[in-house]
């Protein structure tokens, strides 16, 4: 019941109390904080992992590759914050060092996806009726194929590895982006803004360069932020199927996949890398939604 939140104030004649059965929420300050909390948390999470990606040694107490078989499978505790894996490597340090490959894979894949989408979207949105039709069909075909099939076939084609994973994930996510960018460009192309520029005597290419592309690109930051998280999840899925970064790289998906075997014995090996993925993906979603809201003003 969101319509009425009238406040009771004794003494004054008061109109209908709100229909809600709940007591009115607490003080304004607290509410404002609660509203901003997710964004703050997300920013913190991303900042943390970004820092980890840039300066892993700053945050990680151990060498992520140093094995210590005697210390294998120790649970989370004071010695090893998040426990150790089957070779006695410190999970926390591996997650920290894993931030770079994982985020890099995610970022590169998103960049490829967006780049491809931009080309396709621009061709479709600006290349005239037939090109638009053609690109539209291509996108539809890409959509009709399950993403994982696309990725699997591509990886089978090019052989597994980080580069392939990046391209595969980029390829899988591109159609979605392309569709959005195309819609954006078409909306802009027929917008009053473009009409106004035409009336002012601007050429088509000028309008494209000055008005359409920059404005079509603006939401890309939002898309990219959202996509980063999703690409990390995608890449992890491929790693999980054994198609990602080669060992002993502390890539999160690979860690998770390795840990799954020891689920019954050492849950922390699976849980924490998974948590890192979920945190990054969720935080990037929150951030992207906030950016979108700010953009919409």
């Amino acid at each position: 019941m969101s319509m009425d939140k009238n406040e009771l104030s004794p003494g004054d004649p008061v109109l209908a109390p709100h229909p809600s059965k709940r007591p009115a929420p607490g003080t304004g300050g607290l509410r404002a904080l609660a509203a901003r909390l997710p964004l703050l948390l997300s920013a913190t999470v991303l900042a943390f992992f970004l820092l980890a990606a840039i300066f892993p040694n700053l945050l990680a107490p151990y060498d992520p590759l140093a094995i210590n078989p005697a210390d294998a499978f120790s649970g989370p505790g004071p010695g090893h914050l998040l426990g150790t894996d089957e070779s006695g490597r410190d999970i926390y340090s591996r997650i920290i060092h894993g931030a770079r490959p994982s985020l890099l894979i995610g970022a590169a894949a998103t960049a490829i996806g967006l780049g491809l989408a931009l080309v396709l979207g621009t061709i479709a949105g600006f290349g005239g009726k037939w090109l638009d039709f053609g690109v539209g069909r291509v996108l539809e075909v890409l959509f009709a194929l399950p993403g994982l099939l696309l990725a699997l076939v591509f990886i089978a084609l090019a052989g597994p590895g980080v580069g392939t994973t990046v391209v595969a994930v980029g390829l899988t996510t591109a159609p979605g982006y392309a569709r959005m960018i195309r819609a954006q460009i078409i909306a802009l192309r027929t917008s009053p803004m473009v009409e106004a520029a035409t009336v002012l005597g601007r050429t088509r290419s000028r309008i494209l360069a000055i008005h359409i592309l920059p404005n079509a690109l603006a939401p890309i930051a939002v898309l990219g932020t959202l996509g980063l998280g999703q690409a990390v999840v995608w890449a992890a899925s491929l790693s999980f199927l054994g198609l990602g970064a080669p060992p002993p790289a502390p890539e999160w998906g690979a860690m998770l996949s390795a840990g799954r075997t020891y689920l019954a014995l050492a849950w922390w090996m699976t849980f924490f890398p998974g948590l890192a993925i979920v945190l990054v993906a969720a935080a990037s979603t929150v951030l992207s939604r906030a950016m979108k809201a700010a953009g919409a003003r």
Binding site: A70, A72, F73, G242, T261, L265
Partner: protein, 524 residues
């Protein structure tokens, strides 16, 4: 936790109940092990197909569907007497002609048999002398033929059934076993029912007639964690491919028992590709072997379920020869050897270099052939090798891509299992003939040893009729490959089963350590 013999008897057998078996192996494409011929096929087909020979618990070959077999003095004529009074489940009688039809089926290129085809490769021609006697003419003496006969890939099926299309025969092969295939729902389960007319070729004392179980549901649950969870939940009564840590955990839990079945043939090992740099230099091979700490890894990763091996052959092979002294972890020695081999300088990452080249080893690993613990072991070897300045690049690959890398000679290290009964597996793995690729590109000699003296040893060992000489020759051959540092033996390959304690009397009696359930019952 290692009890190679069959499960202990606890009480009076009760008939009835369907056993649910959860296999972690890939689902076979074909239930007829003649076609192709891999281990998953062996596992399931052991329930409904039987072989001419089998192995007793003590490792001795015993006749099974065969009554007896003799070989001529020149070793070129082998006569097999087939047991009488045994029928296939379609009612066809087991005869010499039937066995001949099976061998012909195996040798027919259309069948596309690989394992069975290789095992019978020396057969030149065959003739059924009478109802029960089959005479085989060999191209060369083959003293491992009876061992070959004990393998599930050479099991005997109804000749009538074999005449069906391959598609039909793959879906429901017809044999003489205690169970028969009722249906096969792809990706779900093979359903088997009891063969009511079963006659055990060699009777088990106190158990006549048909099996106790009504049937077996053979499920495929590839995820190790799911498989174990299913066993815990009582969804299934027995699982194979139990992971080392699971076995350790199961030891502590009530109601679950562990069964080990050592596999015959080769041990689990890493092969060092001697055909190209840097392992064409024996010093570097030796250095690598001293640079990696195998024992520490096996201790921590296998929870005592995998005994370390120092031999090319599994320890259940009576002719296995071990050389522990060769395989110590000794970084100092490794450093010395590498210096001697000219890998003296180090690059910025601490790896040794020679003439500007980094000492780097490519190690393709098949995700479907190496269990996770083994993959972790490789990672640990990678880490210890790094301390000696050796870079190991592990590539996790699916089976097709993995073979692709091998065929392209794109590897310095590789670990490939090979299961075959008897020491003759050494010829397959180390004879120079095995470096010549089959039309598909396949070759078994992955360390690519090409040593004429070794070839000679293996050839003589394979054809001699003198048991003592055979033993000695195989020992020499093993010594040669071990001292040449062509391989790094890791541990003995074992089948690990975990089963509910309600399941009584599980036997792992076949030659290749697949379980059999003729004598097994489900306690209420």
């Amino acid at each position: 936790t290692t009890t190679p013999e069959s499960g202990t008897d606890a009480g009076t057998p009760v008939a009835g109940g369907t056993l649910v078996y959860a296999s972690g192996d890939a689902e076979p494409d074909c239930l007829d092990p003649h076609v192709g011929g891999n281990y998953p096929q062996a596992l399931v087909s052991s329930q409904y197909l039987e072989t001419l020979y089998t192995k007793a618990a003590d490792g001795k070959l015993v006749p099974w569907l065969a009554e007896d077999s003799t070989v001529s003095a020149d070793g070129l004529t082998r006569t097999v007497k087939v047991r009488e009074g045994i029928n296939f489940t379609d009612g066809t009688q087991l005869t010499a002609e039937a066995v001949k039809a099976n061998f012909e089926h195996l040798l027919d290129p259309k069948t596309a048999s690989s394992t069975g085809f290789l095992a019978l490769g020396k057969i030149d021609s065959m003739k059924a002398i009478d109802e029960a006697t089959l005479e085989l003419k060999l191209k060369a003496p083959d003293n491992s033929l009876l061992e070959s006969f004990s393998m599930p890939w050479v099991s005997i099926q109804s000749p009538v059934a074999l005449k069906r299309s391959q598609e039909e025969n793959c879906a429901a092969p017809v044999g003489t076993g205690p169970f028969k295939v009722a249906s096969w729902k792809k990706q779900d389960a093979v359903n088997m029912v009891r063969n009511e007319d079963y006659v055990q070729p060699v009777a088990t004392p106190g158990h006549e007639g048909a099996a106790y179980l009504d049937g077996i549901t053979w499920r495929f649950i590839p995820e190790a964690a799911t498989r174990y969870a299913a066993l815990q939940a009582g969804e299934v009564q027995i699982i194979d491919n139990a992971q080392p840590d699971t076995i350790a955990a199961a030891a502590k839990s009530q109601g679950i028992e562990h069964l080990d079945a050592p596999r015959p043939g080769a041990s689990n090992r890493i092969e060092l590709n001697s055909s190209k740099a840097p392992f064409n230099d024996a010093l570097v091979r030796e250095a690598f072997i001293h640079a990696v700490n195998v024992n520490a890894g096996i201790d921590s990763l296998f929870f005592g379920t995998a005994p370390r091996s120092y031999s090319p052959l599994a320890s259940v092979e009576p002719l296995a020869y071990s050389a522990e002294s060769l395989f110590g972890y000794d970084p100092a020695k490794a450093a010395e050897l590498l210096d001697a081999a000219g890998w003296t300088e180090r690059d910025s990452e601490g790896y040794r270099i020679k003439e500007g080249e980094r000492l780097s080893l490519t190690f393709p690993v098949s995700t479907s052939q190496s269990i996770p613990a083994e993959q972790s072991l490789f990672e640990q070897l990678q880490a210890t090798a790094k301390e000696s300045g050796i870079e190991v690049k592990i590539n996790l690959l699916d089976l097709s891509s993995w073979y692709g890398e091998l065929f392209k000679n794109n590897y310095n290290l590789v670990s490939a299992p090979y299961t075959k009964v008897g020491p003759s597996v050494l010829s397959i793995l180390f004879h120079s003939d095995s470096t010549i690729p089959a039309p598909s590109g396949y070759f078994a000699n992955l360390s690519q040893v090409k040593d004429p003296s070794l070839d000679a040893l293996l050839e003589t060992a394979g054809s001699t009729e003198d048991e003592a000489q055979r033993k000695d020759l195989y020992a020499q051959a093993q010594k040669l490959v071990l001292e040449g540092y062509y391989l790094l033996p890791l541990y003995n390959q074992q089948n690990h089963f975990l089963h509910s304690s309600k399941l009584q009397n599980v036997g792992t009696t076949t030659a290749v350590a697949t379980p059999t359930f003729f004598d097994t019952w489900l306690a209420k």
